[in-house]
């Protein structure tokens, strides 16, 4: 993610970059990339969207620490992650090629799961799908 966002933070002051890197999450990345596509050249958008989630992330972690063990089971909170991912994907996918690459990555991710462990299957699926996407365009 940080490699993909790097062309857009070129004009940010160098002292600013560690802060930007710290604010980089899946969520702020997706929102920022969508913004950079429309209006490039404003790296502070990443800072703003990052801060927006960062604050609530810390508060929610604190809340979980204090009250988490008292929550009843079966609220379906686990679904929050897939739901977030779906919205982010809609922000990031562009064009027919983008859809094809995303679907390919999904299928590969599932197919590779029995062969390699979780994180690695995602990595390999991503690398292969993106490479196929680049080659396809030529």
């Amino acid at each position: 993610l940080s490699a993909a966002v790097s062309p857009h933070v070129r004009h940010a002051p160098k002292a600013f970059q560690p802060l930007l890197a710290h604010m980089l999450t899946d969520e702020s990345f997706a929102v920022s990339m969508a913004e950079f596509e429309q209006r490039p050249g404003n790296p502070s958008f990443l800072l703003g969207s990052g801060l927006a989630i960062f604050v609530f992330w810390q508060l929610a972690t604190l809340a979980g620490l204090l009250f988490g063990s008292n929550l009843p089971q079966g609220l379906g909170l686990e679904y929050a992650l897939p739901a977030t991912l779906i919205c982010l994907i809609f922000l990031l996918v562009r064009g027919r090629r983008g859809v094809a690459v995303a679907i390919l990555a999904a299928i590969l991710g599932l197919a590779l799961m029995p062969l390699v462990s979780g994180t690695w299957s995602v990595m390999v699926a991503t690398l292969v799908a993106a490479t196929v996407g680049v080659l396809w365009k030529r």
Binding site: Q38, G76, I107, A130
Partner: protein
Amino acid sequence: MNVTLVILAIALGTIIFRLVPLALLSRMSLPTWLQDWLGLVPAAVLSAMLAQSLFVQEGRLALAWQNTFLLAAVPTFVVAWRTRRCDLGLRQTPWTIQKLIAQDCTANLRLAIAVSENQPLVSRAPSGRRR
């Protein structure tokens, strides 16, 4: 003590992995094909993660209707698709915050108007704030 050390080590690793590519790559200009490739990576990562979190339950492939995550994903897809469309239309308004607040209400409003008047969703007047 041990746990604290592990947390600190992971934190350091995360910071390095986020900062190094961002700091290095933002200083050089990348070839077009690499930029193209990097542009495809994010959606692919999220898509692979999503597929695993939706279709895999307790380590097995779960494609039946008993998989509640799959059921819940259907309305989520619909909402994500509609609000994204609308988001693009609202980009004419200058204020990001206004956009964010207006986004959800307007999505439903626009859809209702379009359906009732049998209009395509894509055509949007610049002064498209009907009440």
